[in-house]
Symmetry: D2
Subunit: 345 residues, 4 copies
């Protein structure tokens, strides 16, 4: 953060792939951030469109255009770069940005998995930057806060994994549930599918409808397995089923696990509450949460219930905030030493 | 309807452009029709997909594939053909179908307007079959029932025009409102925009949002003008504004006109009710209608109110039924002498 | 069905509690039924409101009023009575109707469970007609068709149980999955909560939101257990979690079970397909179903997938049709010897 | 703002009627306000419920309970009080609050109209505080900024009136449109109907439906007339029609007026843009606005179009922000000399 790298005392921020939903949400958060200044936005769209023409909600709020720029040029104009590019394309850009001296928060899955082999298996692509895979910090502050503070590159978590990992880790670490038998039944609003029009997310197709998709082959499966494994030191292999809910935003995850010892709702809840004591963005609740309770916020609300021979952990996040751009700002705050809740409350 | 042209006593029906929403709705109605048999479906999609793979709701209900066929071939397999093709493409096919001896209900706008010149102005295209333009019957049974019965080609009405014309014509013909000053403020569900994915109808764009579109230049404007003109013998030039409602189906039109003489709500309502006496699909109501009241039906519900120096006529239809496929089946029933409500109640 | 009991050759039908969503759906189906005539409707609303004033969608379609009548009077006017009353109130009326000679389809849960004790435990109410509990036929034709034909009283199934039982029974009976470890994660549209306005179903509360409710204590739990138990001869104790989806209608159930032997997706699917061979309303599909595929229909669509060490069975129904009124008409058809699909396709 | 009246340098804020949607939205905005501290909340609910139990989205964010308090007690604990009470009840409380020395922003309609007679006519109630009616400042900063700064009582504008007045006033004051012939066709999300569950706003009733309501008798009609009259010095009598859109929040108003002289889209737009030059919350746009563009913000987006012999002015606001709580905070900022955009960007 030398004199050349900041605007006054503000961190200069760039965003790659600024046309999507996570990017616009990130811009809105950063416009409230007293120590960040958005200085460069990229897109492969022709004609250098203004922010307001691409995102009408930002009309008049950010006097920038979306430019088709090389990572090297972006690194000259920004201290910290958020990459909202698709996987593979992101790693190529991130690698160049890091080499050029920028710090990076990567929204793609490129640096989340343990190994290039796992990446190849699930993303059906040879990793463009294999050397950094496995060693990159996973940007979930509730589990990896210290490492984030020092990181030059943070792999921003996936939306479903955030909801599942935050729900399950405390009970696993407390030895209250069995790592060997976990079902993660998740439900997401449609913004999670991105902004590119497709038949499945065409309004008259998915409105007034509910469906499962990607059963048994969703790419967030290995991410959930590996990060829970990293956090608990136990090998995990969850059954993960995503569903599409006819709403804009929000994820609710219903996780089913087996109790390792008899415990009441109150005991289970207390264990999770203790784990998250002092966390600014996790709210362990006695009542059942709804996605609307966290909509537009960086909160993750969690409730726990014992039902017959199972423990249910129900968690809610806003997929675009705690599941993407809010988490990214939380990571940014940690990376630069700002109060963790800056621009997020 | 000779021996070769029917299956038993059933009319053989073909549908051109069977991938869209009006086509699937039409198939559902015709599957209930005791005197119709769907025999051929076309699409330019490759690979002869089955109906069920294109429209999962019809899984197992209709053992046909969508084929890429010439109109001439379709006319061999069907007595009556419904064209759900886009404008211009439709007229080319319709022209060939008629020449080959089929009767046709055309869902496109190609045969709705008065003249090739008007068509050229609003559709920015030279009409492919100008000789038939202007002389084709407009398939609104409430106004043109007799001509429909004899027609070999019926121009199926547009969805917005149906709601506006049915609302305004009775009061105009009764001399109760002024033809010179009419505003038609219409609101439609998203299925009206068709099944091709676009950004404007991508779920997270239009859900939880309401907007006007095509202000001052929607192609249904001349259709409303010309058909009301034809029905009333008066020259009309409406202000028409369509809006997009975050719901699957339904159109509500709020039409504003000036009273020519003082009349109460009751008198205005009585005049409209008298006009539609005996009509099976127009319900003139004392209470205000909602689009849900007619959803999935061929009804048009209408209410009239005097507000200060204006008359408000509020009409509701299901844009895919009375605004498209239901009207088409109603026309089909008239063309073949079946009871008009067959398959529609 | 003597000369006095029918209108021409039509069965006279009464509906108790005709103000709700299942009642209006039932009326719409019966209006298409060639052998049924709705003759009496009841409600405790004062002033004998017309059908059209209570249900605007039925304006002009059914010239009846909702009356506050004793069961005995209803039994004089109807051969078959559908009770859409709440539990307990329903059993009181049903008991009187049966005594008065009517045949009855009961939409409430009053006659679904095995014993008055189970009823008391889950419904916190002493059963008003304990003698008939346990012996009443459960109106799921796919499992109990023969008994339905002869029944004077049919307990119409609950919506969630229908989706769960149809999904799980074939694999259990084929010995392909373990009865001891079953999770039923269900998601329902809001109409399932009934028509009485409450905060939880107030539009701005549940729209754009997704939540679990009744976790561990939903009254459909014992129904699922007991009916699967009855059908398979095995004791079952499922983990059942209902969720509320921001849409009008539809239920999707994701059921998780453990395979008893290795079987591929294709083998599992084939077993379910074989079980339902010839069933008019169960469609076993290779592709994943969405609730929209069955919306407005009496179909139950089912798909099966093997995911790691689990079998997923995904089923979709329209909660108001196959989950309520469509099933009731299907039962009615069986009770009176009409083709089972009458008024349902 | 004496030493006793502030907490440190913060204004102590109270909210009457804290259970509704405008109240929760107000709390969220004030939680971001560096110079405001919420100190007291009232409700007639029994049992002093916590904020989090009434509004789960505020779980853990505001350690207060909702209390059933007299205005006098509220005035002891707060410098500025926002009343979210229903009309009539509000005036009674406001009167007492003002007498006790508090400054007040009143969300109800009680102080918006010109006279007790007009109030009696439209609200069918004798005004409880007639002396203050007519003299109270109308809290629309774009028109009445100076008076707001000095006010002890501000009548916070209605949601529909805000959208209509902001759209029409500039063109009227510029002499570009005719005051004698104005139609205001407005469409609102369901949160505008409040939080009390009713059949009309029960999810399965209004979801997937669109309807007009209160035609010719909505209470915002005289408010639009009188405030436009006040701002332009011309007598106005608009035709106002509200509609209900199946979405949580947002109002779009399509206003139709007659041009007084020929003017292009560009000239009309320029006139409106000039009028709002420097305004922080009005965005005059060339493209057509959608309610989603302003959702969650205090912006009012406006576009103007000439269509045949009419001028269309289309405006969008978030009914809960610029249409209620955002406007209230904007007024609060003006009343206390804070930058007008504080907590609103």
């Amino acid at each position: 953060m030398g004199a050349t790298g900041t605007m006054g005392n503000k961190i200069r921020v760039g965003i790659l792939g600024a046309t999507g939903y996570t990017a616009v949400e990130l811009m809105k958060l950063l416009l409230r951030h007293p120590h960040a200044e958005i200085t460069v936005l990229t897109s492969r769209q022709e004609g250098r469109p203004s922010v307001g023409s691409v995102h009408p909600s930002l009309h008049g709020r950010l006097p920038l255009c979306l430019e088709d720029l090389e990572p090297r040029v972006v690194a000259e104009r920004a201290d910290c770069v958020f990459s909202c590019l698709p996987h593979a394309a992101s790693a190529e850009a991130v690698s160049a940005l890091l080499d050029a001296g920028a710090r990076v928060v990567d929204f793609s899955a490129d640096y989340r998995l343990d190994s290039p082999a796992s990446y190849r298996e699930w993303y059906e692509h040879e990793h463009p930057d294999p050397a950094r895979v496995g060693g990159t910090v996973y940007g979930l502050p509730e589990l990896f806060r210290e490492r984030i503070s020092e990181a030059r590159l943070v792999a921003n978590p996936g939306c479903y994994p955030t909801s599942a990992i935050l729900a399950l880790t405390p009970l696993l670490k407390a030895g209250l549930i069995d790592v060997a038998d976990i079902i993660v039944d998740s439900k997401s609003g449609v913004s999670g599918a991105g902004r590119t029009p497709k038949l499945a997310t065409h309004f008259p197709e998915c409105n007034e409808s509910f469906s499962a998709y990607g059963v048994g082959r969703h790419r967030h499966t290995p991410e959930i397995d590996q990060v829970i494994g990293r956090a608990t030191g136990q090998s995990v292999s969850v059954i993960f089923t995503p569903h599409l809910v006819p709403m804009d935003r929000g994820i609710l995850t219903t996780a089913y696990s087996k109790p390792l010892r008899d415990a009441s709702d109150a005991e289970l809840t207390a264990a999770v509450r203790e784990f998250y004591r002092g966390e600014p963005f996790v709210r362990v609740r006695d009542s059942l949460p709804a996605t609307k309770d966290v909509s537009g916020t960086n909160f993750c609300d969690i409730a726990v219930r014992r039902v017959r021979q199972r423990v249910l952990t129900i968690s809610c996040i806003d997929n675009l905030i705690k599941g993407a751009s809010g988490a990214a700002v939380q990571n940014f705050n940690l990376m630069y030493g700002f109060p963790e809740t800056t621009a997020l409350l």
